[in-house]
Each structure stands twice: as structure tokens, then as C-alpha cells.
């Protein structure tokens, strides 16, 4: 143990590096207190959340080039983490803004005080997860974000399907985190440490039983896989996405997934990277287990199952849920390359995915505000009843498919090129076939909006000017990033380097 003075010096340093997370915790507590004190005001905690996120952004901005560990190697600050934290933070802000325009929340739930409070808490859990380098923190962070999301998914508790979604989410979540902590205990038993850096050093120095290692990592993967909704840990996804309020569905599909991918990448690189060869950009992995193949299998399963099942869905939220499983598959494809190009492509993909997916869900929320339904048949003729929504939805759908000139195209381009560069041609072929399949169900939404029920004389949809402004906040970047993507790509390549400790 360190001496007390030395420890306090260390602690002060750690705290100064923990400012973004601290800001989130403070915002969380302030929101909680304000909600207790001012019961009547409608969006007070929402504004608190926004302010908290902005302050967090300020501290995050000041950390931009930092690379260090804090709290006795439990927490890592590096460019990779900061990129992911930006994705989480921006999508949190987006989700709070979307929530302001979601009637469902204000009509079906009693008060939205806890809603925004829990969103801040969830953001804190995700920040913690992105930066954690200790299995205990990983577990705690996953539980923090899970517990908030369980409640958020069932926030409109008068709605039956929301309660059902919440319950299913809790049960699947409990099982997967139980399996995960079992895996953690086996890994601890093998290596005698919970710290990823130390586990890495131990694995480099000592041979361990491959079967036990494989089993423990697969068990831990079930926790991560649950967060990124990769097949076969995806069972909760469609029901929860369908039942939860739209902003929460969007949040789960972007931020929660980003945190899951961040920890997946960090876990694999930090635990299994053989640092002896010296060249970190192409990872040489420890041990004789072919992790590339394991992840590639997950990727293929997720893409294929997600896309194929999406074909039969009739609810737009369910379509987007299965599409999000498929997107997890595309990104897992890039993860399976296990090199820095792959990491960079995941980061790029996430940035693009954030913009277009939030946008798509926002349109769903706006339409649901008016027609009170998310069934695909109710979308008939909406292209004429709500021209702006229709155009924007089309844009987001094109982007989700991955066609130029949209952001989604750039994301897919980099993912596929990383996969091909790493030599997994077969994987890239599977990915391309899947993209083609996905076109079908995205077009189905488009077709219903523009080609069905053309001469309907139903009334036009109404929406406030502010909500249209927010829609453009998502739509313009989707187009812009499809054309001017250099800055993001540069930033992502710079951030692809995951910190390996001293």
C-alpha cells in the first residue's frame, strides 16, 4: 500500500482526470434534488441534464490529448475513450432534445423528473464503462447503465408493452450479467488479477489453460454482447425497442451500443495484445485461441439474422431494432480484424450511425406524435401528408442502407475496406450481401410513404417549427458527413490507439 501523502497526491491527480464523469454525477444529484423541490415544473430536470452534458463536454474537450490512467489503474483516459465519450455525450444531448418533442412521454408517464435524471445516470455508467480497465469497474459500469435503462425502457408504465419490455430487459440483463460475472471470476482464478493490464502481463508471462480461458472470455462476451445486442445475445432487442419510449430506443441503439463496443475493443486489445513485437497497429494476440474467428462468427450471425428477420416485421420500431442488430454485425466485422484500422473504422461508423439512427428514430417519434402508431401500414401516404418528415426519413433510410452520398456510406466504406485490408474477403462478401438484403426492408418503409395511398385526402400532419429545426440538426450532418468526411476520419484514425498502460 502507498503512503498516505503519496496516495492523496495520486488521488488529486486522478480526480482532476475524472472531471467529465464528476460533472455527470453532480448533474445527476442536482437533477434529483431539483425534481424533489420543484415538483410542478415540467422540464426542469431536462434542462439540468442539458447543462450537465454541456459542462461535461467542456471538461471532455479539455482532455482531448490526454493519455493516462487514474485511480490505481482502474480508469483509463485515452483518445479512443474520448472519441467514444463524445459519441455518447452527443447522443445523450440528442436524446434529451428528442424527448422534449415526444408526446408519448408527457401523456403516458406521470412526470418526467426521474426520466432525465436516469438518463444522466445512464450516461455516467457509459462514461465509466468506456474508460474502465478493471473487471470490477466494468461490471459496476454495466450494471449502472443497465439499471437505469431497465427503468427508462418501462418509463411509460401505464403502457402495457412498455412494462413488458422493461421486465424482459431486466430478466435477460440479469442472466447475462450473472454469466458475465461468472466469467470474470474464472478469469480472476486463472490470472489472479482483475486489472486488465495485469491480466495482460500475466498472460504474456505464463501459459494458461486454453479451454478455461476461452470459456471465461465467452462468458464475459455475453455481457458485452448483450449491450451491443449481438446475436445470440439479442433476444431482448426487438421487444424492448418496440416497447420503450422512442427516445430511449434511440438511446439504447446508439449510446449503449457505443459503450458496449468501446469496452469490447478495449477488453480485447488490453487483455490479449502481445506488446513484444512492437507494432501496435496490427495486434498480435496472446495465446493460441483464434479470437478473430470467434468475433467474425458473431458478426456474421448478427448481420444475417438481423437483416433476415427484419424483412418480416410490420412495426417500424421493430424494423429499426433488427436493423440495429445488423449494424452491430457490421461493426463486429470491423472488430474481428483486430487492428487499428478496424478500430478507426468502428469509430467512424459509430459517428455516422449516431447521426442517422437518432434522426430515424426522431422521425418515428414525430410521426407517432401525430398518428399514434408505429405500424408500417399506417405510414401509407405519409410522404405527401408530411413532406419534410418524408424527405428526411428517406435520407436516413438511404444512409442506414449505406448508399452514397450519405454518412452511412462512408461508415460502411471504411468498415469494408478495413475488413478487406485485413484479408477477410469472405467476411466482406457476407457483409455486402447483407447490405443488399437490408435495402429491401428500408425501401419497404419508403414505398409505403410514397407509393401507397397516394391520393389520400387525409389531413396533413402538424408539427412545431422547433421540432423541424431539431430534425435538420440530424438530417444536415447525415448529408454533410457523406461528402465532407475527412475531419471525422482523421480524428478517428488519431483516436484508434487504445492506451496499453505504462
Amino acid at each position: 500500500m502507498l503512503g498516505l501523502d503519496q496516495f492523496i497526491a495520486e488521488l488529486n491527480k486522478s480526480i482532476s482526470m475524472f472531471l467529465p464523469e464528476t460533472a455527470l454525477v453532480i448533474a445527476f444529484l442536482v437533477a434529483l434534488l431539483l425534481d424533489l423541490m420543484f415538483k410542478k415544473s415540467k422540464n426542469l430536470t431536462g434542462y439540468t441534464a442539458l447543462i450537465g452534458f454541456l459542462v461535461t463536454g467542456y471538461f471532455l474537450f479539455k482532455q482531448m490529448n490526454m493519455q493516462s490512467t487514474a485511480f490505481s489503474n482502474m480508469f483509463v483516459i485515452d483518445q479512443f475513450g474520448i472519441f467514444m465519450k463524445w459519441v455518447i455525450l452527443l447522443s445523450s444531448i440528442g436524446v434529451v432534445l428528442i424527448s422534449f418533442f415526444t408526446n408519448e412521454l408527457y401523456e403516458k408517464a406521470k412526470g418526467v423528473g426521474e426520466y432525465f435524471t436516469l438518463i444522466i445516470g445512464m450516461a455516467f455508467g457509459m462514461f465509466l464503462l468506456v474508460g474502465s480497465s478493471n473487471l470490477i469497474i466494468i461490471y459496476l459500469a454495466i450494471e449502472t447503465m443497465s439499471l437505469s435503462s431497465y427503468v427508462l425502457a418501462g418509463y411509460t408504465k401505464e403502457v402495457k408493452r412498455a412494462s413488458e419490455a422493461s421486465l424482459k430487459y431486466v430478466i435477460f440483463g440479469a442472466v447475462s450479467s450473472g454469466i458475465m460475472i461468472y466469467g470474470i471470476s474464472i478469469l480472476f482464478g486463472l490470472t489472479g488479477s482483475l486489472n486488465l493490464f495485469e491480466i495482460n502481463r500475466f498472460l504474456a508471462a505464463n501459459p494458461v489453460n486454453n479451454f478455461a480461458l476461452f470459456l471465461s472470455v465467452i462468458m464475459i462476451l455475453s455481457g458485452f454482447g448483450y449491450k451491443i445486442s449481438a446475436v445470440p445475445f439479442h433476444f431482448w432487442t426487438p421487444d424492448v425497442y418496440e416497447g420503450a419510449p422512442v427516445p430511449i430506443t434511440a438511446y439504447l441503439s446508439v449510446a449503449s451500443k457505443a459503450a458496449g463496443f468501446a469496452i469490447l475493443l478495449r477488453f480485447f486489445k488490453v487483455t490479449f495484445l502481445d506488446s513484444v513485437p512492437g507494432n501496435d497497429s496490427v495486434w498480435t494476440l496472446l495465446g493460441s485461441i483464434d479470437w478473430h474467428f470467434v468475433i467474425a462468427i458473431l458478426a456474421v450471425l448478427s448481420m444475417t439474422l438481423g437483416n433476415l428477420v427484419a424483412l418480416w416485421q410490420t412495426n417500424v420500431k421493430r424494423i429499426l431494432a433488427y436493423s440495429s442488430i445488423a449494424h452491430a454485425g457490421y461493426m463486429l466485422m470491423a472488430v474481428s480484424t483486430m487492428d487499428d484500422a478496424g478500430v478507426a473504422s468502428v469509430l467512424i461508423y459509430f459517428f455516422m450511425y449516431m447521426v442517422m439512427n437518432l434522426g430515424a428514430f426522431y422521425v418515428v417519434a414525430l410521426i407517432a406524435n401525430n398518428i399514434g402508431s408505429e405500424e408500417i401500414d399506417d405510414y401509407n401516404g405519409l410522404g405527401y401528408r408530411a413532406p419534410i418528415l418524408g424527405i428526411c426519413m428517406t435520407l436516413f433510410l438511404i444512409s442506414l442502407t449505406g448508399l452514397p452520398p450519405t454518412a452511412g456510406f462512408i461508415g460502411k466504406l471504411y468498415v469494408f475496406s478495413a475488413v478487406v485490408k485485413a484479408g477477410y474477403i469472405w467476411l466482406a462478401v457476407v457483409g455486402v450481401i447483407n447490405s443488399v438484403i437490408s435495402l429491401f426492408y428500408y425501401v419497404k418503409i419508403f414505398r409505403n410513404m410514397y407509393l401507397n395511398d397516394v391520393d389520400s385526402n387525409k389531413s396533413k400532419l402538424t408539427y412545431s417549427p422547433a421540432s423541424i429545426v431539431l430534425l435538420f440538426v440530424f438530417a444536415i450532418p447525415t448529408l454533410y458527413l457523406g461528402i465532407f468526411f475527412n475531419d471525422i476520419v482523421k480524428w478517428a484514425s488519431y483516436s484508434a490507439n487504445i492506451f496499453m498502460g505504462k
Binding site: L11, L32, L118, I137, T144
Partner: protein, 166 residues
Amino acid sequence: MDLVGLAFYFLAALIVISAAIVVFSKNIMYSAFSLMFTFFGVAGLYVLLNADFLAVTQIMVYIGGILVLIIFGVMLTTRITGVDVKSNSLGKIQVGIAGLLSTIIAISLIVVFSSTKWFLSEPKVSGDSTKLIGNELLTNYLLAFEAASVLLLIAIIGAAFIARRK
């Protein structure tokens, strides 16, 4: 066999048998109560490992807290609303598949546990584990400690929100 070995096998048998009752009993009240013996057995194992603080905490948290609430819930649902909570609502096929999967997992776990060379630290003789745990929690594991407090706060808020009347 020495006394510690004897105690271990007794506790292990207690844990396994009562855990089996938890799983297989048709009466959910029996399940809940035999869970108590499982927890006691685990606490006993901690005592054998010289982790006295952990043992007592196990009893306080699991037996005195969590299980009481579980039993509370079971009592309220079975007797007061007249609904019999039973755990035999599964079909034969589901039981078959679940049994098969569990067997596979159990066998692979047994193989792993018996064939693996586990990491062994040097045995440390320490009288007062409480102090060590306290020091570690507030120094090396400070972040975990604080993160856990936020986690619990979120859990409380969530529980209060769900339980609140409309």
C-alpha cells in the same frame, strides 16, 4: 481428513443439497427457505477461508436483507391474493432443452474446474480482514466504491419510481 476438510465437505454438501432444493422444489416457499441454507453454507465457506468480515456481511446482506424481501414477496403473493406461485408451468420440451443445455454447461464447467491450473497466491495469515478491506476500499478500490454508491442510488430511484402509485 482433518477438521477443516471435514467442515468443507459438510458445508459443500449443505450448499449443493439446499441449492438443488431451491431449483427443484415445486413449492416456491420451500425454494426461498432452502436458499437461506445455501447462503449460510457460503458464509461458512468464507469463515473457512479466514474471511470473517465477508462471512458476516454475507449473512447480513443476503440472509438478513435480500432473502427476507424475497420471502416477503412470496408470502404476499401466495396467501393474500390467493394466487399460488408454483414453478411447474414449463412444458416437457422446454425442460428437455434446458436440461440438455445445463448438462452441457455443467460438464464443461466441471472439466474446466478440474483440469485447470489455477493461479495460487501465497497464503497470507491475517487476523483482521476488516481493516484490510476498509483500507483497500478507500484507496485502491476507491473508484469502485464510489461507482457502487451511484449504482445503488440509481437502483433506489428506479425502484421508487416503479413502486410509486399512479
